[in-house]
């Protein structure tokens, strides 16, 4: 399903960046929680992947927050999302379950940024944030999400 609607205003862009921040916070919280539950000694590769994913999401969140600040909109505090993730979280101790969850995280984020970039490119709106900086940041994050999908897929394949 592809994105067809261009972004029409600063307000809509800010809202979508907020959603991006929440998605990153969900990844940060879930991957962080899974990392905490993974035995480093027993499964070093999985623990490293989850820790890296959590840290990368925190970095993406900060990059999005910088863009959002230019649009004069508020971020969504990480602690708030962490609490919601905890409240709805269903523990899955099966390694495949953890990896599959991480794959969904990375694929969803990739799809989100891909759609967002397309809708900004299709828009003729003059945003308060510099368009080149906006697109450059989002493309960089999208690339890192693609690499994340690849890393999880490789680890999954290695376990077949």
């Amino acid at each position: 399903m592809s994105l067809t609607q261009p972004i029409a205003s600063d307000h809509q862009l800010a809202r979508l960046l907020q959603i991006g921040i929440v998605l990153e916070e969900v990844v940060e919280a879930r991957a962080g929680k899974h990392a905490g539950e993974t035995d480093d000694a027993a499964d070093a590769a999985l623990a490293a992947l989850l820790e890296e994913a959590s840290a990368e999401s925190a970095q993406h969140r900060r990059q999005l927050e910088e863009l959002l600040a230019t649009l004069d909109a508020d971020t969504v505090p990480f602690e708030e999302i962490q609490m919601l993730v905890e409240a709805q979280y269903e523990a899955d101790e099966d390694f495949d379950g953890v990896l599959y969850d991480q794959l969904c995280n990375e694929e969803t984020a990739y799809k989100f940024y891909d759609d967002l970039i397309a809708s900004i490119e299709a828009s003729e709106t003059s945003f308060s944030v510099d368009r080149d900086r906006l697109l450059e940041t989002l493309r960089l994050i999208r690339e890192e999400e693609a690499e994340g999908v690849e890393a999880v897929t490789e680890l999954m394949e290695a376990r077949l």
Binding site: L3, Q12, I19, V22, V26, R30, C104, T108, S119
Partner: protein, 144 residues
Amino acid sequence: MNTQAQYLKAIYLTQQQADGPASTGNVADLLDVSPASANEMIGKLEERGLLDHEKYKGVDLTDEGIQQARDALQNYCIIERFLIEVLEVEEFRAEAKTLEGVIDETVAERLDTIIDREPQCPDCFNAEDDVCGLIDVEAEVSSD
């Protein structure tokens, strides 16, 4: 959600309200598009086997059309609940409409992991108020 999904959702809700086939005029009104645009898209959806269109009678979704419409409605419910519960947006109906075309179902599924949604969704959707019938909107948006 793409244009096709938005049309299917609108037809589904219009059929529910009419308790029968949906008139193309009502579908166009709900989507705020011209009757000509609505007719064009309805023709495409009929070619794809998602609905039956009988002149002067209206539009009837097929089983596949109903399934896709319900998925679209569920995504819409997730967006509305997310705006209310997480971002505490007062004008959530208007914003959900602008976002439904740019939030893909995979993204909606992830947002769904942090909201409260009842298992009977989307059957509890109140088409007239354009919101889930189980949400106490004023209490949800003002509480913090």
